[in-house]
């Protein structure tokens, strides 16, 4: 482990000395929610800047921020803001994480395509996830049990749900926790009793998106703050970005460059 670290440091040293010249590598790590955005933007970035190679991997927001704290990555992707405890740890280790909002994520409740329910209120959503509404007929749907599908309590998507829908109250233990948005999509599309929630990028014809309080979860309603379950997505750098990192962040935030690809990846761009 120590050996690997030394090796990584040596590599970093070499790339610093080389500056922006050919062969520089920028490592990006973190949230799997932000990953598709950075991959899309990264492809375009590498075409425009052939001298810089991006090494992108997803290991979760927590791991990304941990890597920023440890200095093992240049850019961390995160679907949540950094926690106080993480800032404290970073400052103790002599690094100062700088956040950049790169896009918005809009989280939409979804049901099976055969479900007749079209709209749901935040109150009803909360009651379903508290385990208080157990049958679809209680909210005007068919007489079938509700199967509640949620994300793991440590995922960034869950955190948004927890904040915006649950108001920090606990999801009841009978909810089926899935480890990824892909798994939620899979379970909801195959179970006619199910309700789940997905980022706007995961919506397609195989699941039915519900409107919340009569508002459709789309790009427009996210940007004008009407849709109640939306959040910004971030990247973090170790200290104020310089060199290649700065070039990349600027590219990412550019309305005609990076942000254009954000939309292609199925997320909501900043402008």
């Amino acid at each position: 482990m120590k050996f690997m670290k030394t090796l990584a440091m040596a590599g970093l040293g070499v790339s610093l000395m080389a500056g922006p010249a050919i062969g520089a590598t920028l490592s990006i790590n973190g949230s799997t929610t932000v990953l598709p955005i950075v991959q899309k933007v990264g492809e375009a970035f590498m075409k425009e800047h052939p001298g810089t190679t991006l090494s992108i991997s997803g290991g979760g927001s927590g791991n990304g921020i941990k890597a920023i704290i440890d200095g093992t990555t240049d850019v961390a992707m995160s679907s949540r803001f950094i926690r106080d405890s993480e800032v404290k740890l970073a400052v103790e280790r002599g690094s100062y994480p700088v956040p950049f909002a790169v896009s918005y994520d809009c989280i939409v409740p979804v049901v099976h395509t055969s479900n007749t329910v079209n709209d749901i209120s935040l109150e009803q959503l909360k009651a379903i996830y508290r385990g208080e509404i157990r049958n679809w007929k209680e909210i005007g749907g068919p007489d079938r049990p509700v199967v509640v599908i949620s994300r793991d309590t440590s995922s960034g998507t869950y955190e948004v749900w927890d904040e915006k829908v649950m108001n920090k109250e606990r999801v009841f233990p009978g909810a089926l926790l899935q480890a990824s948005s892909g798994a939620v999509h899979q379970s909801v599309s195959r179970n006619r009793n199910a309700i789940g929630y997905l980022g706007i990028g995961y919506l397609d014809d195989s699941v039915k998106a519900l409107t919340v309080e009569g508002i459709e979860g789309n790009v427009e309603n996210t940007l004008n703050n009407k849709f109640p379950v939306a959040r910004p997505l971030y990247v973090f750098t170790r200290g104020w970005p310089t060199g290649d990192t700065l070039t990349f962040i600027n590219y990412m935030l550019h309305p005609q460059k990076g942000q254009k690809h954000v939309q292609e990846a199925g997320f909501v761009p900043l402008y």
Binding site: K66, I69, L177
Partner: protein, 297 residues
């Protein structure tokens, strides 16, 4: 010349000693790491509160670290899968070793063992996409991702282990015992049930325990098909969340060296102690009931 040979012998011996130590060293280091990362949680929650607490809300404020639903789920999944896989595995082994022709055996045994080579993610995917909708429709359940589905998939995975080791044990029962039994007028069935099966019982027990320890530690399948609800199961069709799936699903997002992180390692410790116990029992049985030579006079 003799001196040189002697040195060479020593070097070779040392080389093999080192090779043997490496795996022990690695195991020791991993266990040390596991315990040093897991034990700090017990300053937050008592051991009994951890093992028997029924609320698992590691990211809530304040958090609850009760793993009883996870523990119960792991045990339920393991026991139910054993109930399916033991009869299947042992009967297959008896058939292959005693009844099937040797040509048939040579074809079928590798096929059964090939089942063990199926990646667990493939079995999990099968359970999720094929078995879950089927169970849901057939039994009119709210969800097909449940305890029964997970046990069924785990049984598929432990059958090859149980079958293969049992078959070896049955096949190595001394020929004299079988011949003596037949010579005394016992039928083939009586010989299998009263002589061969008891004589190979220690091998079969070892096989069963190893199969079960595979089931309790298996992660991918339970992550995909067990449903993931942290509830103490009340029926075999309830969704559950066994220990390995909790670790796998939550570890990536748990803040480094936070309470949640330590709690997940502590679950790892519990899991490690379980598989260790299973392996010790298996080893003990294999030693105690070892068939030493044929009982011929």
């Amino acid at each position: 010349m003799i001196q040189k040979r002697h040195t060479r012998e020593k070097v070779i011996r040392l080389f093999f000693f080192l090779a043997a130590s490496i795996s022990i060293l690695v195991l020791t280091l991993i266990s040390l790491f596991l315990f040093s990362e897991g034990l700090p949680i017990f300053s937050e929650v008592s051991v009994s509160g951890f093992l028997f607490g029924t609320e698992w809300y590691p990211t809530a404020y304040p958090p609850d670290f009760g793993i009883f639903p996870l523990l119960a789920a792991s045990l339920a999944v393991t026991v139910l899968s054993a109930l399916i896989s033991i009869p299947l595995g042992v009967m297959t082994a008896l058939y292959l070793a005693e009844i099937a022709s040797s040509r048939f055996r040579q074809i079928v045994k590798p096929i059964v063992e090939l089942l063990a080579a199926l990646p667990s993610v493939v079995i999990g995917f099968f359970g999720m996409v094929i078995v879950a909708p089927f169970l849901q429709d057939a039994f009119n359940l709210p969800t097909g991702l449940n305890l029964f589905n997970a046990s069924l998939m785990l049984a598929f995975m432990s059958v090859p282990t149980i079958c293969s080791i049992s078959e070896d044990a049955i096949f190595s029962v001394p020929r004299e015992l079988k011949e003596a039994s037949l010579a005394l007028g016992a039928t083939h069935w009586e010989t299998i049930a009263r002589v061969i099966f008891p004589a190979s019982l220690s091998g079969i027990s070892t096989a069963v325990i190893l199969g079960m320890s595979r089931a309790i530690g298996e992660t991918m399948v339970v992550l995909m098909v067990a449903g993931g609800a942290a509830l103490v199961p009340g029926s075999i069709f309830d969704p559950v969340r066994p220990m390995p799936s909790s670790i796998a699903a939550e570890m990536a997002e748990a803040p480094f060296r936070g309470d949640h992180y330590h709690a997940l390692f502590a679950i790892g410790m519990v899991l490690f102690l379980f598989t260790l116990a299973f392996n010790l029992i298996a080893d003990h049985m294999a030693q105690k009931h070892k068939q030493v030579g044929a009982a011929t006079l």
